[in-house]
């Protein structure tokens, strides 16, 4: 009677809920798909070429680096495909194939695998790829120049370039609804505001990204742009314009939220997100670059480890 087993407790974890990096990667790709498809329909076959080649090259680079470094083949987790898709979404539709190949190599190999693969990268791999290309071949990232032969049903001047060089008089052609519906030029998957917002909300609801980072990033952009706009309405565009143009939305939901380069605690997430938002508008309004999202997020990636020092006191710790 005394030896009767009434309760058996095994070691944790007790049950696997079925979540995995693979599920996460493919769901993030699914969330990004509306914006990417919109870009492909807008810019046609050249955009499809860029997106397709980028996804396949990203996986190929990961496979090759796995083989070269004699590590387990990790392409099954879908992260390389996700990097390829997000990278393509930031590019102009007319990007040459060699730029896609180089950029995905930089993103996957230099941005991620040099640091030991997924989870070890201090910077967002996609942004490392884009930043190096932007510095190396800046003319290809000048959307006015890259899309010079496109004649779509809306004003084709790149909104952020017009705002930077001409002030608010240069952006009268852009309405908020038009910007939300993707009626402006830009990266293949970065212009369809509504699609990006819906994708972001899906990721937040599913718990794949943290709302704190996205919301604080957008708030940082909004408040800073509002202050600039209030200081000189003829020179600086309004906050809504900054929220819906350039890489802001794709940055808020798909780039700033990358796991290993963003903080995990509440206050650090707010600092990280808001800092990237503020830097974005500072670079756009008083910096050299037309769009600041790429460098702003990379800069905040850099201070991410310091942000994470702000954490709850360990339980029972006296001092």
């Amino acid at each position: 009677m005394l030896n009767q087993k009434k309760l058996i407790v095994s070691h944790a974890p007790f049950w696997h809920d079925g979540s995995s990096i693979t599920v996460r990667s493919y769901h993030t790709m699914l969330a990004a798909l509306p914006a990417a498809l919109f870009g492909i329909f807008t810019y046609g076959m050249p955009a499809l070429g860029v997106v397709s080649l980028s996804i396949s090259f990203a996986i190929i680079w990961e496979l090759l680096i796995n083989k070269v470094t004699q590590r387990t083949v990790s392409i099954g987790d879908g992260n390389a495909a996700l990097i390829g898709l997000l990278f393509a979404m930031l590019l102009p539709a007319t990007s040459p194939w060699w730029m896609v190949a180089t950029g995905t190599f930089v993103a996957v190999v230099i941005g991620k695998h040099i640091y030991g693969g997924i989870g070890g990268n201090p910077f967002n791999p996609v942004l490392i790829g884009v930043a190096i290309l932007m510095v190396a071949w800046k003319d290809y990232f000048d959307f006015n120049e890259a899309l010079v032969n496109y004649d779509l049903r809306f004003a084709m001047v790149y909104p952020l370039a017009a705002a930077k060089h001409l002030g608010t008089s240069g952006i009268e052609a852009f309405s908020t609804a038009g910007l939300l519906l993707g009626q402006h030029s830009g990266g293949i998957g970065a212009t369809f505001g509504l699609g990006l917002i819906l994708g972001g909300i899906y990721l937040i609801i599913r718990g794949f990204i943290r709302w704190e980072i996205s919301v604080s990033f957008l708030a940082g952009v909004f408040v800073t742009a509002l202050l600039f706009h209030m200081s000189d309405p003829s020179l600086y565009a309004g906050p809504v314009f900054h929220l819906l143009t350039g890489y802001t939305l794709i940055g808020a939901f798909f780039l700033a939220t990358e796991d290993s380069s963003s903080p995990v605690n509440f206050i650090p997430m707010l600092i990280y997100g808001a800092g990237a938002g503020v830097m974005t508008v500072l670079i756009r309004n008083i910096g050299t670059y037309v769009d600041g999202v790429v460098f702003a997020i990379l800069l905040m990636n850099l201070i991410n480890p310091i942000c994470d020092k702000i954490r709850p006191k360990a339980l029972g710790k006296v001092v």
Binding site: S20, T22, V23, G44, M45, P46, L48, G49, V50, V51, S52, L53, S54, I55, S56, F57, I59, I60, L63, V73, I75, G76, D77, G78, A80, A81, A93, T94, W97, D139, D142, N144, E145, V148, N149, Y150, D151, M156, V157, A161, H165, L166
Partner: protein, 149 residues
């Protein structure tokens, strides 16, 4: 999903997207239209974005081709020989007095005394004179009216 199945998906993605990407780049290269839509002039003073379509279209400024493409002068010749500004107005190689494009229609000996205005002068005089006629700038010393990008 088993790791084997995940790998199969990844390999399938490589094959499908490589194929689609290759076909898209090879069969549908980005085309340059016969009549330009916008042109980006790269200069040391900052790039100039010129909207060719707005200048030409009736809903825009409604200019005739000959208003800018002034050579050759006869309209019937112009239809066939419409050339880009930079074909003639360009920096010449050392020792040359006229660009090679002249030889498409003229004999070399006919061109010995000819002088072609250099590109920056040609563009400045062309754009400025027309813009000032219609009171559309640029103000004196304001390079940033055009050199903005």
């Amino acid at each position: 999903m088993t790791p084997k199945r995940e790998l199969q998906i990844a390999y399938s993605l490589i094959i499908v997207f490589l194929f689609v990407g290759f076909i898209s780049y090879a069969a549908f290269p980005a085309k340059t239209p016969d009549e330009p839509i916008r042109l980006m002039y790269k200069t040391v003073a900052g790039k100039v974005l010129f909207d060719h379509k707005i200048h030409l279209s009736d809903s825009g400024y409604g200019l005739a081709c000959q208003d800018c493409h002034h050579h050759p002068e006869e309209p019937e010749e112009l239809e066939e020989a419409l050339v880009a500004c930079g074909e003639c107005h360009k920096v010449l190689e050392e020792g040359k007095t006229f660009p090679d494009s002249c030889l498409d229609c003229h004999e070399a000996e006919d061109l010995e005394d000819s002088e072609v205005m250099k590109k920056s002068d040609a563009f400045h005089s062309q754009c400025e004179s027309c813009h000032q006629e219609v009171d559309a700038g640029p103000e004196e010393e304001r390079c940033s009216w055009c050199h903005v990008m």
